[in-house]
Assembly symmetry: C2
Homo-oligomer: 202 residues x 2
Amino acid sequence: MTISTKEKIFYISLDLFSQKGFSGVSIREITREVGIKESSLYNHFSSKDEILESIFNFFREDFSKTLPPLETLNEILQKHSVKSFLRAGLHNFKKYMEDETGQKMWRLLQVEQFRSPLAREIILHDLYGKTIEFLEIVFTKFIEFKKIRPYNPKVLAIEYQYPVFSLLTEYNILKFDGKGTAEVEKKLEQHIDFFLNTILEK
Amino acid sequence: MTISTKEKIFYISLDLFSQKGFSGVSIREITREVGIKESSLYNHFSSKDEILESIFNFFREDFSKTLPPLETLNEILQKHSVKSFLRAGLHNFKKYMEDETGQKMWRLLQVEQFRSPLAREIILHDLYGKTIEFLEIVFTKFIEFKKIRPYNPKVLAIEYQYPVFSLLTEYNILKFDGKGTAEVEKKLEQHIDFFLNTILEK
DNA sequence: ATTATAAGCTAACGATCGTTAGTTATAAAG
DNA sequence: CTTTATAACTAACGATCGTTAGCTTATAAT
């Protein structure tokens, strides 16, 4: 399985945009890395903007697959303890974010968020919104099943997820500088422990 | 009290950089808004890079003043309940972030974080590091004074502050689009309530 | 009153920007 | 074998980039 020129452009653009921002990267820089002349790029994308757009659209579709479908949720929730469910979810999330493409997407969204309305939409609606919405359902069911103490499920979702987002920001910067991330991963563990402690039935 | 040309350049650059990123703003765009010719800018700053650098340095100094000095801390902590202390701190923090300059600084740091090592340093060391360090001391003392249940104070600091950071991200995007922020402020209240609930002596 | 300094101006430098027109090579489809 | 489509190429377009040289003017110190 080989990689097409269009895909090369896509991934190299993602890499460069995520580091230097859309405006900080030239068509010539992209095509130099791809190994083609700048005019050839327009055989694959109609403009520089279209490259960015295709990256954002790809991320939206890709990210929507990371949350398990609601149909299988009841089954999953009854099989697992709260603890193992959260840990499993975290494991998924970490895998996604340790993935290089995932990291670059996350970075790109951050650096383009005030230039691109679509980036803002993705951050608020997809990343934040969909994740919290999902967790809200999860905690609602956990409460139904009397696996955790009753509490506003949306608040629980936020209390669990928002520290994770901040930790991801930290993680991403450390990773970018090639520094160790053990400290952040420890914080993540401690956060889950703290959270479990407060919601589990005594 | 009038505003100097140098200050005009500073604030207009901050405004533009925070929206479009450093690379997305030209000297001509800055000087057009300031109302001078582009060559005149170089009477005040030696290069475009120096403008950005001066903005970052200003933020570092300015932000360091937002945390109360440690000397006065014992006194403050004994006068206030945990609840009123956290609410007061939050009030300060909100005031700083509702301030237009504060918002733009925060945005600028985000959009430049992967282009500028200094931006990353400020985010990790100043914004995250200093804040958590301060709160760690606060919670240590609260535990000493038996105002809250004993728990790893660093974990408490993170549990309190990291959701606030994520809420700020949300707040900043909504504010940027001119949308209402009531929802986010409600989440902030709920977060404090949740947190207080879990740490206060029963 | 003279001088020095600061801060504005005009004009231009070479470099680079995104994009296009026109051409050529390759390979699949008829 | 010819046609067609895809994707590479060369060359160039006008626009804009950050920055500089050299000149003028207003302000303030000597």
